[in-house]
């Protein structure tokens, strides 16, 4: 591909025939089991898995880990992603050997400890969101969205209200919202927001009607501001027989301060990997528990943990005949849920409110400092929630330095980039979310880096546009990646 060396070779390049991590293999088979396996079923050539020693493997994957940014090593002001510290205790106590060894179909008699944690987690999530009931099944935010919209559909269908197939989504919404509505067989209607970032009520009034299944909202919105007209929105949508869906992406902003259930939402998903600090894992696993109001309770996905005189047990389709059904082969991401449970117990009732408070304090402090440093805000009149939007539209025009250039240059300063180009309706935007777990010193250092990059943009735009320089690679050729698809390693053919 190139004469330049990669930062770390592929594991396949360490492979040597006959080498192996033999201490990790089971002993030789105790009886010749394969004798009874007919040849027609048998694999003819072995899979191309690497043949390396244990040390080779440990070094390779440890080195790969060191090529990553992570919360444990870097500040991640990634808007709408809530990259807060993932406490080590949550991992350690979720990985106790008994929890790890427990088979999903083990009887409830051998799971009362685990089930008690899940039951209490359901109860705590009800309390913090103001919802009537909770199901822990969905395995990510988008999966929770799917469950939510599917419940809305099931609710209308159960009432014989089959015409309701339209889901209203503000144009600033996360891409999963319209994608989810489509997956649920609904039609998406996008509505605009006004100049202050609130939903355009006139447009909403025009959009709703007898076909409205519901509206999907994030509050605070993806624009980093609280949707002030939420009660009017609820009234309008409920007035035409639609339901309100709360996308919990930004729940961190309001934890302990205000609850979606009190705002009038009928269904909500929570990203436990955001608000309740379970790890992002380089792209999952997440957990997207859903909460509902009383009228949607019968439709919750199963299984759900129930409690009776004998103790805790799973409630299934038999207990919930109207359920939208199962979303996973078992019960979702149990180990992630345990981490969220531990985190919530460590925060306790005192700590829960501090999450929203200090996340908001950090965001507004960062906003004030960046504004003073000469950055433009997308919504300068508004209070920041736990995040806010800077737009470098002016810099893009004056110096040809874009939001992407700022993002890439920040990597050289040791900061992960904020979210760029989302929400789509703010040009050249950086969506910045510091979270409550960052110290003032970290925020100040980030501001200094932003000021330094702004200075570079004015003096030497090429320096910013060429960034990053200190990462394992520079900017990558995405066009080549998409055109000359190289999606899996293949051995080099030896010349005949």
């Amino acid at each position: 591909m190139s004469d330049l060396k990669p930062a770390e070779k592929l594991i396949f390049e360490y492979s040597r025939p006959g080498r192996g991590a033999t201490a990790q293999h089971p002993p030789a088979p105790t009886n010749a089991a394969s004798d009874d396996l007919p040849a027609a079923f048998r694999r003819r050539t072995p899979p191309r898995l690497p043949e390396v020693s244990e040390l080779d493997a440990v070094r390779h994957f440890t080195r790969l880990s060191q090529l990553n940014f992570a919360i444990d090593t870097h500040f991640y002001p990634l808007g709408s992603c809530t990259m807060k510290y993932n406490p080590k205790a949550c991992n350690q106590y979720a990985m106790l050997p008994e929890f790890l060894a427990r088979h999903p179909l083990a009887p409830a008699t051998h799971g009362q400890g685990f089930l008690e944690c899940m039951f209490e987690l359901q109860e705590m999530l009800k309390e913090v969101t103001g919802m009537r009931a909770v199901s822990l099944n969905p395995m990510a935010g988008a999966h929770g969205e799917f469950a939510g919209v599917a419940m809305i559909r099931a609710y209308h269908a159960a009432r014989g209200d089959h015409a309701r197939n339209e889901i209203i989504v503000p144009e600033a919404a996360h891409g999963t919202n319209p994608a989810t509505a489509t997956m649920c067989g609904c039609i998406v209607k996008e509505i605009p927001v006004d100049a202050q970032g609130d939903v355009d009520l006139d447009a909403l009034a025009k959009a709703v009607g007898p076909n409205t299944a519901g509206i999907m909202l994030t509050n605070p919105s993806t624009l980093g501001v609280f949707e002030r007209k939420i009660r009017e929105v609820a009234k309008l949508v409920h007035g035409v027989g639609g339901l309100l869906y709360y996308d919990g992406a930004n729940l961190n902003a309001i934890l302990g301060k205000v609850r979606p259930g009190d705002m009038g939402f009928d269904v909500i998903h929570m990203n436990l990997h955001k608000t309740f600090s379970t790890p992002h894992g380089g792209g999952g696993p997440g957990a997207g528990a859903v909460g509902v109001s009383a009228r949607l309770e019968p439709f919750l996905p199963v299984p759900i943990v129930g409690r009776d005189a004998q103790g805790y047990r799973w409630l299934s389709e038999r207990d919930r005949p109207q359920s939208i059904g199962r979303l996973s082969a078992f019960m979702g991401n149990a180990g992630v849920l345990l981490r969220a449970y531990i985190y919530m117990r460590m925060l306790g009732r005192e700590g829960m409110g501090r999450v929203g408070e200090y996340a908001t304090l950090n965001a507004n402090y960062l906003l004030a400092r960046l504004r003073a440093a000469g950055f433009d805000l997308a919504y300068p009149e508004r209070r920041a929630s736990h995040e806010f939007i800077v737009t470098v539209k002016r810099q893009a025009k004056e110096f040809n330095v874009t939001a992407m250039d700022f993002a890439k240059r920040l990597l050289d300063f040791g900061f992960h980039a904020p979210t760029t180009y989302f929400p789509l309706l703010v040009p050249e935007c950086l969506l910045i979310e510091p979270t409550e777990t960052e110290s003032r010193e970290t925020l100040d250092a980030f501001v200094e880096a932003m000021i330094a990059i702004l200075g570079e943009a004015e003096r030497d735009a090429a320096q910013v546009k060429g960034a990053p320089y200190t990462m394992p690679v520079r900017r990558l050729d995405d066009v080549r990646a998409a055109k000359q698809l190289d999606l899996a390693w293949k051995p080099v053919e030896s010349p005949a």
Binding site: P26, L64, L78, M83, H143, G256, V258, S328, E438, V473
Partner: protein, 452 residues
């Protein structure tokens, strides 16, 4: 304050910079009547020491019974290095690799994972994981309908030998888009798809036939004949496979004359702990011609500005953050950390190690069946080749048998009465390489005791 680093002085100075008097003032845009005073329903905070004690007590209450359960989740030995590396903060606390330059570690792991899974299944392209085996089957069904250019049918054939929970997930996930799943019965003696019943669907317009190998009962289906039949009918073949088994069983790409079109499965056996059902990960591979119909993230190798090799997310235009309402799926976050664990597991096992796990698991289950069926009132439900699971039929009620065995610390199998009432009193049992001769002896002893 747990996990909040601010000192009183910090707060004062930060408020002054913002220009407000207290933190509460920052919430002034929220209508006051919506504000809550507190969360009395949440218990008071526990210190790390206290939560550690509580969790340890709860874990001990659940205990470590000797388990012979399978049915889609399998107990295998996991090399120590797998989770020692997977839980390194640099993997554990990293975000989705959207900023490629700062995520080369995660991206290269995904590329290596894609390379290993494509080699195991024989198909050309893999995504970076789906939620679990059940949701992977649902996504495969949606994909088959999307990718099938000749048939516009929304119907799929899903035999009764496919994991019943996978079938349920497929219905809950894809039913809203109008997909229909028609079942096909199995032959009572072999526990495999009834080819005569299947043939009656010949000529009808279906998007795909789903074939699970080994099937839910652990029996091996005649995948070659089934695949050729489906292709002759113009259907796609969706293979649902156990990745461990692929170390010794024919890969889906070699089924029949043309091979399966889409392959999915539960990745849990590859180094992921049982953990009450999750987090696991689903895998999916397909032919190159269908890559743009595949859901989920995909990593490609490319070069940087200087020509140095590097990795990046590619074909993102299929995904929700760009394609929004027209995306191939709404999937965003997947199961990256579990995929990382699986990549390290496959590396440590290698081709020989994984084959040994597969062979030894087969051998252990065969030994278990021999021992158990020597007990009066217990017999094997099906004949024919198996992988590492088997169905046992009983004269006595299995619910009672299981309860009695469990009291003695042995989980004797998964009862099938709910999903397969026609089998009568039946259990699905599994013994992997983790089960010793002594474990098998304990099983039989517990079984004899329970039947007494």
């Amino acid at each position: 304050m747990p996990f909040v680093p601010h000192t009183d002085a910090d707060v004062r100075e930060m408020l002054a910079t913002i220009g407000v008097s207290d933190i509460d003032a920052l919430f002034d845009e929220i209508p006051p009547e919506l504000r809550i005073a507190g969360l009395d329903g949440i218990p008071v905070a526990l210190s790390e020491m206290q939560i550690g004690r509580l969790m340890s007590e709860r874990a001990q209450r659940d205990g470590r019974p000797l388990s012979f359960l399978g049915a889609g989740a399998y107990e295998h030995h996991i090399p120590s290095a797998v989770w020692a590396i997977t839980t390194r903060g640099e993997f554990y606390s990293a975000y989705t690799p959207y900023q490629a330059e700062a995520s080369q570690g995660t991206l290269q792991v995904i590329y290596e994972y894609q390379s290993m899974i494509t080699s195991l299944t024989g198909l050309e392209v893999s995504n970076a994981s789906l939620y679990d085996g059940g949701s992977a089957v649902a996504e495969a069904a949606l994909m088959a309908v999307r990718a099938h250019r000749k048939s516009k049918s929304l119907r799929l054939l899903v035999p009764a030998t496919v994991n019943p929970n996978y079938r349920r997930v497929a219905v809950s996930t894809a039913g809203n888009q109008g997909l229909q799943f028609d079942t096909v019965p199995y032959v009572a003696g072999t526990g495999c798809i009834d080819r005569e019943a299947l043939a009656r669907h010949g000529g009808a317009d279906y998007a795909a036939l789903v074939i699970q190998q080994p099937n839910f009962f652990g029996q091996l289906e005649d995948v070659d004949a089934l695949t050729d039949w489906a292709h002759a009918q113009g259907m796609f073949v969706i293979a649902v496979v156990n990745p461990t088994s692929l170390a010794i069983l024919k890969p889906p790409a070699e089924w029949g004359t043309k091979g399966a079109d889409i392959c999915v499965g539960e990745g849990q056996p590859l180094g992921v702990p049982l953990s009450s059902g999750g987090p696991y990960f689903g895998f999916m591979t397909t032919r190159m011609e269908h890559v743009r119909s595949m859901p989920g993230r995909i990593v490609g190798r490319t070069v940087d500005l200087d020509g140095r090799p590097g990795f990046t997310l590619t074909l993102q235009a299929r995904e929700q953050h760009i394609r929004r309402g027209k995306a191939t799926s709404n999937i965003c976050t997947n199961q990256g950390l579990l995929m990382t664990a699986a990549t390290i597991y496959m590396t440590l096992l290698g081709p020989q190690g994984l084959a040994r796990v597969a062979e030894e698991s087969r051998a252990r289950t065969r030994a278990l069946v021999e021992l158990a069926t020597a007990v009066p009132g217990v017999r094997a439900a099906f004949t024919g080749p198996r992988f590492h699971e088997a169905v046992l039929r009983f004269d006595a009620p299995v619910a009672t048998v299981l309860e009695r065995m469990a009291v003695g610390g042995v989980l004797g199998g998964v009862a099938l009465a709910d999903d397969y009432p026609e089998l009568g009193e039946a259990l699905l049992v599994c013994a992997t390489e983790t089960k010793t001769d002594e474990d098998l002896r304990r099983y039989v002893e517990a079984l004899r005791g329970a039947l007494r």
